[in-house]
């Protein structure tokens, strides 16, 4: 080790505290980088796992490969593993209700294929011999054929042919063209398990056969097999060429034809097709898995994630460079005399530069490995936390993946960060002129004009206040780093916390705004009609309302609208000329909601009306929120009454009966009296409407709605989860129900959103905390060193008679001054950011009003002053312990 390097080591040891703090800064920054990279690779690994689980763990499948070919593939060096499956053929299934899917498609899988081809058992076990078989779940749900584990089935398995051609799973069942199964053999199987339906690459949506899987006992004796292969890394790198080689086609043409980004005219396509020639087998790529596995940033999800990673990494590096640079700066300033001395005895610029980099290297050697360890650990913990919070939101579990690439990434970026940080200091150190350095005169360059303090400072705070105020101005550059660190942390913290609050407020507002927790969207039919009562009577259902929509058109004149409304919609109620110049009557369209009788009764009673009297009448919800843009284009919403109609008025018009297959656009007449005008809404109906609505009771079902209307059922249940399951069961058991239905569990939605946002806030707060900590290491180093550098000054002040109390007060004032300065800049920036976030996220919506993030501001103020006070106290303690004389003397040497 050279003398210079030994000197550096000694200096690092001498300034142990600062070295440790700097190393902590490096650890934090490398840990963040590692965690970010590890999370990214873990996400990638999770997606790969998910794909393997969903689609199967293979890259290509080749169909109808002869035994000879199978052996060839086995020999292929670019193939990592291969699974052999054999197609036995189709067998007609008795009792299947789906007329387009009448067959069982029987396959035999070898052991590897069973393990790797994404078989998800819902019941039972995998087959262990050729007499055992797996059936898919959709045989029951889609085909209506319920077979149980343990039962035995006999299948007449054979080749499916039509008009002389052999058909496979890619030929849908066509009811028009007759087909048959020939060369059948009788097979008897014991059902040993039920599995989920295969992904579409294996069983496409139009496939005519349910895939049954049995066991392939001897893969070497199969004459013709379907083979699934995984390529080696080598083979995957250029997977199109690998495939072309296997298919024995023209490589260039195959790549051109199947490669990404190429746009062809039809002729060109045909030309390439011809050039490629006849492939040896039919090949199907498991392309998503290939993209995921072949490139790091192959797929769009990962690409989006990667851009987020890039932004985060830039933030980390900028913050870290900023902070770590500062500690190098400090170290160099302290050693300026030493470097000058070294230069004066003949150290070259290069040697001195090297020496600074050596220091960086030592710090890196300490910080980077520890940073990587903690980063990997943090990523591991974060993934567990993520699974805890959003495990049931994703279809798959996030898995932690230890990736050397991630570590390499962090190491490289860590080193880059360090080099960037050390570079300027190294240059500065090498440029130090010997004499200037020894006299240490280059460091303090101040002009009297620049240092001024207002008179009041001295008046209020005394000479101590003046000195501390001036000090801030003197070391502007040094304190700038501190102030900027604090400003960044404070403003980002305020912005983030208002983002998080806004997210949670939104959920709360959405959830609190509703008085139901289950929403069932469905299309009505006779069968559901019967089941409604069953749903109504489920245990735990407190309130139940069935709502259907339609609208009535009626002739209206201006007098029926309020003046306010006419101001916004001046055309309302006025007759107009059509394109042929003929006068047309103005027709007003009014929403009508039909709610079930029981709910209607409850509703009118809550409006203090007598049900018997208003049974046949309607309730007019007349309060509307009208959107409008003023002259400057500013958007606003005004609350107003739409109609000037009153209780007792009648609405006479026509209702269009949609969705009636027999009578398209048939209409029905409606003549109804308004029982009351109100703004109280029945359950499930939103309070904010853009147009008025008429609520009528169940007696109108048959009159203004046909039997296949679309409708919503809103339920307020004591146990939303349980009721949800029960309703789903009811629908599952309605085998002939051909309409759609959709069930929203609002509690569940809110809960999921809540956990999602909680997770996001953990990530965001975690991130800002670590960034803040990096900032703290910087602030700590700046303040303690500044204090240290001013030791002699302090000693002088004491020697001319400054008491301890006065001294402490002076230091406190100094911290107060620049704490204030940072906050005065940081808080407004944070508020502006938080308002921008609010504006972007909640723009235009009236649900939540903007509120200043007061809690975050208070937390920032307290945290900043606490932090600065603690660090100052620490440095003062050290200075106060020093003997005045010793200090003055030491410096004089």
């Amino acid at each position: 080790m050279t003398l210079l390097n030994r000197l550096t080591l000694k200096n690092l040891k001498l300034n142990k505290k600062r070295t440790i703090v700097t190393v902590i800064g490096i650890i934090l920054s490398v840990a963040l980088l590692t965690a970010v990279a590890s999370m990214f690779f873990s996400a990638r690994e999770s997606l790969i796992q998910f794909q393997k689980q969903e689609q199967g763990n293979y890259h290509y499948s080749f169909t109808s490969v002869l035994q000879e070919g199978v052996q060839e593939l086995k020999q292929n060096r670019k193939i990592e593993s291969l699974y052999v499956t054999k197609t036995l053929g189709y067998a007609k299934l008795d009792g299947v209700e789906n007329e387009y899917k009448p067959y069982a498609y029987v396959k035999e899988f070898d052991q590897e294929a069973l393990e790797n081809m994404s078989i998800t058992l819902t019941e039972g076990r995998l087959p262990e011999n050729a007499n055992e078989i797996l059936i898919p779940t959709h045989l029951k749900s889609n085909g209506g054929l319920a077979l149980k584990v343990g039962e035995t089935i006999t299948l007449e398995v054979g080749t499916r042919v039509s008009e002389g051609g052999v058909l496979n799973q890619f030929n849908p069942f066509n009811t028009e063209v007759p087909e048959e199964i020939v060369d059948t053999q009788t097979k008897t199987y014991k059902i040993v398990g039920i599995m989920e339906r295969f992904a579409y690459r294996i069983e496409n949506y139009e496939a005519p056969g349910y895939t049954f899987v049995s066991y392939l006992e001897d893969s070497d004796s199969v004459k013709e097999a379907d083979v699934y292969v995984r390529y080696t890394k080598e083979g995957l790198k250029d997977y199109l060429r690998t495939t072309a080689q296997i298919l024995e086609v023209d490589e260039e043409a195959y790549v051109a034809l199947n490669g990404p980004g190429a746009a062809f005219t039809e002729e060109e396509h045909a030309e390439f097709q011809e050039k490629v020639g006849e492939p040896k087998y039919d090949a199907v790529a498991n392309d998503y898995l290939i993209t995921l596995e072949s490139g790091v940033f192959g797929d769009s999800t990962l690409n989006a994630l990667a851009s987020a990673v890039v932004i985060v990494v830039i933030i980390i590096i900028v913050t870290s460079v900023f902070c770590i640079k500062n500690s190098f700066d400090i170290s160099i300033t302290e050693k300026i005399r030493q470097y000058g001395m070294l230069a004066s005895i003949g150290a070259t610029k290069k040697q001195i530069k090297k020496n600074v980099y050596y220091e960086a290297m030592i710090l890196g050697a300490l910080g980077i490995p520890l940073g990587i360890l903690s980063g990997v650990f943090a990523a591991f913990v974060l993934i567990q936390i993520s699974n805890l919070f959003i495990g049931d939101m994703l279809d798959f579990d996030l898995v932690f993946s230890f990736s050397w690439l991630a570590i390499l990434f962090a190491v490289v970026l860590g080193i880059v960060t360090l080099l960037l940080s050390a570079r300027k200091s190294a240059n500065r150190a090498s440029k130090i002129a010997p004499i200037q350095a020894i006299r240490n005169s280059g460091e303090i360059k101040i002009r009297a004009k620049k240092i001024k303090s207002p008179k009041w400072v001295k008046k209020v705070f005394g000479i101590g206040g003046e000195i501390s105020y001036k000090n801030l101005q003197r070391s502007k550059k040094k304190y700038r780093t501190t102030v900027v660190s604090i400003v960044v942390c404070v403003s980002v913290f305020i912005a983030l916390s208002s983002f998080v609050n806004l997210a949670f407020d939104t959920i709360r507002a959405e959830f609190q705004g509703t008085d139901y927790n289950l929403q069932l969207v469905y299309q009505n039919n006779e069968e559901i009609e019967e089941k409604k009562e069953e749903i109504r009577n489920l245990e735990g259902v407190k309130r139940f309302i069935d709502t259907a929509f339609t609208s009535v058109e009626f002739e209206a004149d201006e007098e029926q609208f309020t003046d306010e409304y006419l101001k916004v919609y001046p055309k309302a109620g006025k007759d107009y000329k059509d394109e042929n110049g003929e006068m047309q009557k103005y027709y007003e369209s009014l929403d009508v909601r039909v709610i079930n009788e029981e709910a209607f009764q409850e509703y009118v009673e809550s409006l203090h009306l007598k049900y018997e009297e208003v049974k046949e009448k309607g309730i007019l919800l007349n309060t509307v929120w009208v959107s409008q843009y003023d002259e400057e284009g500013k958007y606003s919403q005004i609350e107003m009454e739409q109609y000037s109609m009153k209780a007792g008025d009648r609405i006479k018009g026509q209702v269009t009966l949609d969705y009636d297959e027999d009578a398209q656009n048939a209409t029905a007449d409606l003549d109804i009296e308004i029982a009351k005008v109100t703004d109280e809404v029945p359950m499930g109906m939103e309070e904010y409407r853009a147009s008025a609505s008429l609520v009528v009771g169940g007696s109108y079902y048959g009159k203004i709605l046909n039997s296949h209307h679309h409708a919503y059922i809103y339920i307020d249940s004591e146990d939303a989860g349980k009721t949800q399951e029960e309703i789903e069961e009811i629908f599952d058991n309605m085998s002939s129900y051909d309409g759609y239905y959709h069930l929203n569990n609002l509690e569940e939605n809110a809960r999921m959103m809540q956990s999602f946002y909680t997770l996001i806030s953990i990530f965001l707060y975690g991130f800002i905390t670590v960034i803040a900590l990096i900032g703290v290491t910087n602030i700590f180093n700046t303040i303690t060193t500044n204090m240290n550098l001013r030791r002699r000054e302090f000693a002088t002040l004491k020697s001319v008679g400054m008491t301890k109390k006065e001294f402490n007060r002076m230091i406190q004032l100094e911290s107060f001054f620049y704490g204030m300065k940072s906050l005065v800049i940081g808080i407004p920036i944070g508020c502006v950011l938080s308002y921008l976030i609010y504006h972007v996220l909640a723009g235009g919506e009236i649900v939540i009003a903007y509120s200043l993030p007061i809690a975050a501001i208070l937390i920032s103020i307290i945290a900043v002053f606490l932090l600065i006070t603690v660090i100052m106290k620490y440095s003062i303690g050290k200075i106060n312990k020093q003997n005045v004389i010793e200090t003055i003397r030491n410096e004089n040497i």
């Binding site: 303090i444 101040i446 009297a448 240092i451 004491k798 400054m802 109390k805 005045v884």
Partner: protein, 222 residues
């Protein structure tokens, strides 16, 4: 009138094997208006003596009376206040506060005491120091001699009982050195200011009324 009395002053640094006796039972007294030089080789204990007299360090044994008061009876804060009123310190390296200008540095002890600065007195002092044209300069805009003159001004502003100068010329060339000693001598004459100056330069010491020679922590001659 006796302004300073040093009795049996002893200072021992370190303990046991590393024990260094910097001052060994030194006793002497100084009359008001005297200009005393203390000379001695480095390590003879002269700086220690000065710092003890200035009350910035505490002795192992012995007493220092300034104006009849035992200064080590005071606690640290009282001592600090006593120091800013009664003692003026001048250092080899000036030890000015870099962010305060000449005028502010000079008036610092008064400011610490929250006392008003007499404009007349300040002007007179600046004139004496020859620093009138530099009153708003910062220390790093001054030459070494000018900085030292500023620190003398700082020592004089409070009309202290005693001025202690620690190698005030140690860092200056001979011309500047002469100017500084002349200045000290002048203040000694004009204000009847008591001055104790440490130096290893016999030429400089000759300006003093009285020379104390220190060797191995003891006074070996006058």
């Amino acid at each position: 009138m006796e302004i300073l009395k040093v009795e049996n002053l002893t200072k021992i640094y370190g303990k046991d094997s590393t024990e260094v006796v910097a001052l060994d039972h030194v006793s002497f007294s100084v009359q008001k208006g005297e200009f005393v030089a203390i000379v001695g080789a480095s390590g003879s204990g002269k700086s220690t003596l000065l710092h003890l007299i200035g009350g910035v360090d505490r002795p192992t044994e012995g007493k220092v009376y300034i104006d009849g008061k035992d200064i080590f009876e005071f606690d640290d804060d009282k001592l600090a206040i006593f120091r800013r009123r009664q003692v003026g310190l001048i250092y080899q390296f000036y030890n000015l506060i870099p962010i305060l200008n000449v005028e502010e540095n000079i008036t610092l002890p008064l400011s610490l005491d929250n006392r008003e600065v007499g404009e007349e007195k300040l002007n007179e002092l600046l004139k004496t120091l020859g620093m009138e044209s530099r009153r708003t300069h910062l220390p790093n805009e001054l030459s070494g001699g000018q900085q030292q003159r500023t620190s003398i001004g700082r020592a004089l502003i409070t009309n202290p009982s005693i001025i202690l100068a620690d190698e005030p010329t140690g860092n200056l060339d001979s011309k500047a050195s002469d100017e500084i000693v002349e200045l000290l001598k002048k203040s000694n004459w004009d204000y009847n200011q008591t001055i104790i100056m440490i130096t290893h330069d016999m030429e400089i010491a000759k300006y003093a009324d009285r020379i104390l020679k220190l060797e191995d922590g003891r006074i070996v001659g006058e």
